[in-house]
Symmetry: C2
Amino acid sequence: MSTEETARPLEPSVQATELPKEASLASLPSESYPEIHQGASLLLALRLQDRPILLIGGGVVASSRLYFLLESGAHITLISPLPLDPSISHYISHPSTASQITHLSRPYAGRSDPVKVKDFDLVLTAIDDNDLSREVCEMCREERVMVNVADIPPQCDFYFGAQMRRGPLQILISTGGLGPRAGAMLRDLIVDALPDDIESSLEGVGALRRDLRERAPGVGGKGGKKRMEWMKAICDKWGLGQMKKFNDVTVRKRILDEGWEKGIVLGPEHLEKKGDDWTAIAGKVVGNMLALGMAAGFAIWLRAYNTAKR
Amino acid sequence: MSTEETARPLEPSVQATELPKEASLASLPSESYPEIHQGASLLLALRLQDRPILLIGGGVVASSRLYFLLESGAHITLISPLPLDPSISHYISHPSTASQITHLSRPYAGRSDPVKVKDFDLVLTAIDDNDLSREVCEMCREERVMVNVADIPPQCDFYFGAQMRRGPLQILISTGGLGPRAGAMLRDLIVDALPDDIESSLEGVGALRRDLRERAPGVGGKGGKKRMEWMKAICDKWGLGQMKKFNDVTVRKRILDEGWEKGIVLGPEHLEKKGDDWTAIAGKVVGNMLALGMAAGFAIWLRAYNTAKR
């Protein structure tokens, strides 16, 4: 996020420009700056905790909007006469989400409505009345409020695209309106390609960053850059598959004590050599002794048995 | 986008709820509506063509912001004293992007600055001065303008995450701030998993949708639903790999003439049976005849040769 998510190696239009992975724009010779291909959307992760959102409509489309808004922690003012889509009624009445929704059970009256678009951070309409949708859209443009008008793409300031969430991981796939279904198919393909325990890996690396920030606090500047570069090197060394080991508090402590404090980037192999491995060797020796003992015991018993038989 | 991108089968928190792929929230029995897990971001694709954006800063972080804003077609007011990051200077002076940027070569003066945050759709700061960043952030909150403050995540209304663009396809990967580097690694993993010619497939499906809309115009309602369901069935039938064939105007015409008009969903195998396949069979027959002829000719020659040798 902020610097740490974007000042890093930038990979613009993958197709248009084959920027080396580790290059930032600034480190390139000037003639090789990527050519700009307009027409992209700006993809954003919006933080909406407790923010006021206006949702006009109560059908199946409004229901899908409501779901995403509830997950973002927003406060939603939903204006729609009854009957509502059953899922909307469910969330309005459910104890865990009721406080997130204010439902006004009436049609929205456009310009003459006492509820004004300027009092909201986002406005979404999902109604069959195209004239009312257009009116809401105009009101939003005048007040500089971003609006999504279901079914009328040209009137939308933002789209949703195909989405997925898995714990802390969220992915948005946008086809620029060309193929919504193809976007959903790509989403399924991407979900299949994700490591099974990616949530655990992300939580692990999040825990390590949090511990690191406690040791080396402060925002931006030289310290921030050093922290960022060390974290980057650690991530590359461990890889997505092993990061889940950072969920172990003793592993984190060793990586920070023996690594960060000394300016070293410890890998998984380093951590296993000490302690853990010795225990493993000791365990193996004990196991072998036991097996040897049992074999010897059996031989003695066998000899005794054979002697007795004679 | 709008209805067609989100009223479709919704796949909320993949982990939390195993919704059947084809289910919408509305078709579920009420007790199985997915539980809401707050703390998500709202992932959006923002349309910014010709929209005014304020970018404060001229370093490497500002440079990465500028790149994304230019691709979105926004008009950027960039406030920063010299020297600028070389990539920023490049885009300010390059004929293809110069008109998208207004550069004010001076520091931003916060509240006393004649440039006011309320005149912009988004504000981004990427400066080392944390006090000024905080002041800008406060101004944005008062005016309800969404702001991103580089290096100070708690002050951000939105994050960028890891991104990629390939023609019409854009993907955003957000780790909720836990692991920016892990997000970039996931981005690389996803890029590897994408079909090679995905741009072509998306362009093909976009062309088919455009032709369909010309035959069956109108927004929303029953007609829109029918169109949406037919497009969905076509996508499922052809799959991501074959959609690129829609770039052929005669293929599109046949799918619409022989399919849409008759309420049928034609698959690739259907289209190949007529015309193309016959040509292929004819070609094969001709090829086989030729091979047979050559073999016969060789046999005759061999016989003649052997006879002559004797």
